[in-house]
């Protein structure tokens, strides 16, 4: 090509970014990398390695150590040794370290960007303009949290040693999302980068150590799935933070069940991208480019499911196709492209197979006739229209540059289609009518909603999903809590096995008998006979039968879930209304306080005074959550754009609660009240040994205007009912307090729909201690934060 030919055809030519420095770095390591443990590179003990390739050409980049058990042990030992001193540093000292890391990223921004583009295959524009600057922003932001930790998180302590397993789609950015908060708040880290893309993590660890990060604070162990599994199952790791597929996330939940490891899972998605007929259509078309052709569509929150209002669908699709014709696919280091390479041949094949399936199931495929570079893993931007919700491409995450499009008629239908997914990560809403856009944003089951925008990220705004897109948040204050634990819970003791006295039958006598009160179950606002029609005796500590309760079974749980799902109005009730009802419950409980105290004493053998104290504490706790109901509010983030991100705490939905064996009334109230205060509907299983305080509570609820289905109570075996709740895929969360086995069971069985779990691993809380058993520590677990991004301007 000459000036004259360019002048005539006005094509772009190529604009390659130099890779000299990146190659020089690889050469300095002679193309071989060990793990980075305790401040230095070390080879795998086994000597085993694997290779990482350039996706754009298939060329070998480097040989990488394959982490085995000894390697992971060494990294954990180093992290463990460093954690104490690291946490003991002042927040200010850690802030200085984090600040230095942020500056380091900026100083070496281009080198990191080029290495990332080579290793991952993504365009240099994205690593240079998005990934690396955002990574630096995360370190700056979290330097700030380190600085403020002593005052802002005074009641919290670091979790400890954290294992972090990150994906290949944003290798360096995900490192920042994981490492920055963990280190800032006093944890130490074993990071496993994805096997396809280990290089920037190694580069960063090397540079961080050279700039003064103490040994052992950040360890990088490379390897494939088995290495990840070794980290996940390591006994001396306190927390696992994982970003990746839902399939692996589920496995991690199962493997860590009962281990006491805290868990953050950021998983897959099939995020809706909703275009209303009053949208700026050209803007929405451009939005699709950023939604699904960003990073070749290998984005967990990619707007992959286009939902277009029927009336504008033809013009929208026509303009989208025209736009696709101008997309350019090229080498990652070409500065004049929109898309580059798919990370690996196996991913390319998976994308092609799914698209073929979609077409076989009736979708029309559009691909622009643009040329792809020769060699390497490249895939054309693809649009599938006429996709029916039954098609595999409408439900499965393709994780490639493939948008599927469907139409809707009304806002209600848009919401219904959008939420009709097992996932709930992100969503994008396009409308120029503020009322419509915000209405829909509020109703979408997603952790992040972008209004007239897509794929915006910031360190101050939490990111994370609902449903099978995982749990936990990254970024912002809510993200910090993922790396902290309450100080008040340290030193909790394993609870003693509840005594099981032998039942003693009292001989009848000739006095006026007590009027029989048969406690049923409380479902949908009504007292209902248990499905199986069996009862179980309730014994005093001395074995005296003090009553009988229904033996609930999984059908009763099913019925209770139906009732709770039907009570969705509670979640949209005003906070003032919910507060009033909590106060009213307290009022009605108070008027029958003496009766409840007697019952507690009779069941538990507690002294009259301590039973009265429990009742009074329960009333106070109801008051506390009545107070919180209209005060546990969201935050308005100010991300670096003209606009706001509203962090709104939303109820999780239908939550099961297995109450602890002790504190039959206070335990129930302490768990149910925070849940309903923020709008959840509850199915509570009361103390298995002392359930009568809960069954007596039915009439309190009935007289307190609690809408039917908001609180359901099913008595019976804690274990059996926990199993039914944990395995129920229409239950959104499950709280379980009891034996260690119960915690294991709940976590293990929760994987069907990846419900949020909150368990105590058999370690009991002092329910009378407000700092341990009341307030934000519970409210935080009762909500998911949804961030609604609203850029504005005219």
């Amino acid at each position: 090509m000459s000036v004259a030919t360019f002048f005539d055809d006005m094509s772009y030519g190529v604009a390659p970014e130099a890779d000299t420095e990146a190659r020089a770095w690889l050469d300095r390591h002679e193309g071989k990398f060990g793990h980075f443990i305790n401040g230095a590179f070390v080879a795998a003990v086994s000597g085993k390695t694997f290779d990482t390739f350039e996706p754009a050409t298939g060329a070998l980049l480097a040989g990488i150590a394959r982490g085995g058990r000894e390697d992971v042990d060494a990294a954990v030992a180093a992290a463990r040794k460093a954690q104490g001193p690291w946490a003991k540093l002042s927040g200010h000292a850690r802030a200085r370290h984090l600040y230095a890391l942020a500056r380091l990223i900026q100083r070496h921004a281009r080198l990191i960007a080029v290495v990332e583009a080579l290793d991952n295959g993504k365009p240099i524009r994205e690593t240079r303009d998005i990934d690396v600057p955002l990574a630096a922003r995360h370190f700056y932001h979290h330097a700030g949290w380190a600085q403020l930790q002593e005052t802002e998180f005074a009641d919290q302590v670091p979790v400890g040693v954290v294992g972090q397993v990150i994906p290949w789609n944003f290798p360096f950015l995900m490192l920042a999302w994981k490492v920055a908060p963990a280190l800032a708040l006093g944890n130490t880290v074993i990071l496993k980068p994805a096997e396809y893309t280990p290089l920037t993590a190694l580069l960063f660890a090397e540079m961080a150590a050279a700039s003064g990060l103490p040994p052992g604070v950040l360890n990088v162990v490379t390897g494939e799935g088995e290495t990840g599994a070794l980290i996940v199952e390591h006994e001396d790791i306190d927390k696992i933070a994982f970003t990746g597929s839902t399939e692996i996330g589920r496995l991690i939940r199962e493997k860590t069940a009962g281990s006491g490891k805290s868990l953050t899972l950021e998983l897959g998605g099939k995020s809706p991208f909703i275009v209303f007929d009053d949208a700026d259509i050209d803007a929405a078309v451009e939005g699709v480019v950023d939604a699904i052709w960003f990073n070749q569509g290998q984005v967990c929150c990619a707007g992959s499911r286009l939902l277009v209002q029927e009336g504008v669908a033809p013009v929208f699709h026509e303009r989208l196709k025209r736009r696709m014709d101008t997309l350019r696919v090229g080498h990652p280091l070409d500065k004049s492209i929109d898309m580059a390479a798919i990370v690996a041949p196996v991913q390319l094949q998976r994308i092609a197979e799914l698209v073929a399936k979609g077409v076989a199931e009736g979708a029309s495929m559009h691909q622009p006739r643009i040329e792809l570079p020769k060699g390497g893993s490249f895939y054309r931007p693809t649009l599938l229209t006429g996709v029916q919700p039954t098609s595999v491409v409408a439900t499965e995450e393709i994780f490639g540059p493939v948008a599927v499009s469907m139409t809707f008629r009304t806002p209600d239908e848009a919401i219904q289609l959008a939420n009709h997914s097992r996932y709930g990560l992100a969503a994008s809403v396009w409308s120029e009518t503020i009322g419509l856009a915000l209405h829909v944003a509020a109703k979408l089951a997603a952790g992040v909603v972008w209004v007239n925008a897509t794929n915006l990220f910031d360190a101050a705004a939490g990111f994370g999903g609902k449903r099978e897109s995982g749990f936990g948040r990254e970024g912002g204050r809510e993200g910090c809590y993922e790396y902290l634990k309450p100080k008040a819970w340290i030193g909790r003791k394993l609870r003693a096995e509840p005594a099981t006295p032998a039942p003693k039958t009292a001989a009848g006598d000739f006095v006026l008998p007590v009027l029989d009160r048969t406690a049923k179950l409380f479902i949908g606002g009504k007292q209902a006979r248990p499905d199986g029609n069996y009862s179980r005796p309730v014994l005093s500590p001395k074995g005296k039968v003090v009553g009988e309760v229904g033996e609930g079974n999984r059908k009763d749980i099913r019925n209770a879930v139906v009732a709770a799902q039907g009570a969705s109005g509670w979640s949209s009730a005003t906070a003032h209304n919910r507060a009033q009802i909590l106060y009213y419950i307290a009022e009605n409980l108070s008027s029958r306080g003496a009766e409840f105290a007697d019952r507690i004493a009779a069941m538990t053998g507690a002294s009259a005074a301590s039973a009265r104290t429990e009742v009074e504490a329960s009333i106070a706790r109801l008051f506390s959550y009545g107070a919180w109901a209209d005060k546990y509010e969201g935050v308005v983030h100010q991300p670096p754009l003209r606009g706001v991100a509203l962090a709104m705490p939303e109820p999780q939905g239908v939550v099961g609660v297995i109450c602890p064996p002790e504190a039959p009334l206070l335990g129930l109230v302490s768990l149910v009240a925070p849940l309903i205060a923020v709008g959840n509907r509850v199915i509570a299983v009361p103390s298995e040994t002392h359930p009568l305080a809960a069954t007596d509570f039915y009439s309190v609820l009935e007289t307190s205007d609690v809408p039917p289905g908001v609180i359901n109570i099913v008595t019976g075996s804690a274990t059996e009912l926990a199993k039914a709740l944990a395995a129920h895929n229409d239950v959104d969360a499950l709280w379980a307090f009891g034996s260690p086995e119960l915690s294991t069971l709940v976590e293990r069985l929760s994987i069907g729909n990846l419900k949020r779990t909150f368990v105590d691993y058999g370690r009991s809380i002092d329910w009378m201690d407000r700092s341990a058993a009341e307030g934000q520590v519970f409210l935080r677990r009762a909500v998911d934060v949804k961030n609604i991004w609203i850029p504005y301007g005219e």
Binding site: S11, A283, N452
Partner: protein, 334 residues
């Protein structure tokens, strides 16, 4: 890589020609006008990210800059303009880039000139004489430029006078009040009259986007002017507080595209004011190509109203040829 976006069948000779069917306009379609919505933040993101998605280097960059030269409406619109000043500008329009540089680029025989000369009515005949034989059209700003607040009949007479003096292009200013008060019918009627007064001369409608303030106003005004028969829509007079920006460009280009979708007619685009650096004009070219296509990179559909831009392009071209950074005084003044 082969650029398949290049699908144009039109011939693109150097120098300004008018190689497409003229836009004779259509009936005012008010519902279409009022239907226009522009999301400001989304538009902003598009123009902010574009320079990261498109760039040209080396020979391609030289070619694109040279193409930009052929699209420049070399302009002088000052109160102190004189005939000699205008003649000097015309000489520069004939030979905008030093011949030795063009030769070194392999473009010495292409007859590279600017797209047009743009002056006030008073200097139209001077410019026509000075450009005789060059094929370079003379454009006259008109209709009470820049504020556009003289009586309507005076505006029409001004247009007719410039056309009579040999102006082949007329840059009119719209009455901003019509846009700011939503009086689309008045805007349409005004523009229709201007177009009729121009006869065979091509008319560029200056929207004065800096006065219109919102992208929504810009989009609606663009559409109305096209419906009324504008051959080009143009951002600004160069005299408003804010002149051409990529953001208003995006809004206007999308209207040109929508108009073509509906009518099949290609309307040209002219940003004016504030484009003084070579790298700036490249971003405008990228936006033209991305939003409208290859055809809109030629002077019959793209003009840049500028005075100091040429000097910067000359320096860049010399740098490309010699490898050494250049200075303004090495290139003849215009």
């Amino acid at each position: 890589m082969e650029d398949l976006a290049l699908k144009s069948t039109a011939v693109h000779p150097a120098g300004a020609g008018h190689n497409w069917p003229r836009n004779d306009g259509i009936e005012l379609d008010l519902s279409w006008v009022l239907d226009q919505r522009v999301n400001f933040s989304a538009a902003e993101r598009r123009v902010q990210t574009l320079p990261g998605r498109r760039t040209v280097k080396k020979d391609a960059q030289a070619a694109w800059l040279l193409k930009a030269v052929t699209c420049i409406d070399l302009t002088t619109l000052s109160g102190d303009d004189t005939t000699e000043r205008v003649k000097r500008l015309c000489a520069k329009a004939r030979q905008p880039v030093r011949q030795d540089i063009l030769d070194a680029l392999g473009m010495g025989d292409r007859g590279i000139t600017t797209g047009a000369i743009c002056v006030y009515h008073r200097f139209v005949s001077t410019a026509v004489d000075a450009l005789e034989g060059s094929g370079i059209p003379v454009a006259a700003v008109s209709t009470g430029f820049p504020a556009g607040l003289v009586p309507h009949d005076v505006k029409l007479r001004e247009i007719e006078a410039s056309v009579a003096d040999g102006a082949r292009e007329i840059d009119i200013v719209i009455t901003r009040e019509h846009v700011l008060t939503g009086n689309w019918q008045a805007l349409y009627d005004e523009m229709r009259d201007f177009r009729a007064a121009c006869g065979d001369a091509h008319v560029k409608a200056i929207l004065a986007t800096g006065d219109l303030k919102t992208l929504r106003n810009v989009a609606r005004a663009s559409l109305v002017c096209m419906m009324a028969g504008a051959d080009f829509i143009k951002t600004s007079t160069g005299k408003e507080g804010v002149n051409a920006t990529l953001l208003v460009t995006l809004a206007m280009l999308r209207m040109i595209r929508a108009y073509e979708e509906r009518t099949g007619l290609k309307v040209g685009y002219k940003p004016a004011g504030g484009i003084s650096a070579a790298k700036d004009v490249l971003n405008y070219q990228f936006l033209m190509k991305e939003e409208l296509g290859r055809d809109w990179l030629e002077p019959d559909l793209f003009r840049v109203g500028a005075s100091s831009l040429l000097g910067d392009i000359e320096r860049q071209l010399e740098h490309h040829v010699s490898g050494a950074y250049s200075a303004l005084n090495r290139h003849p003044i215009g």
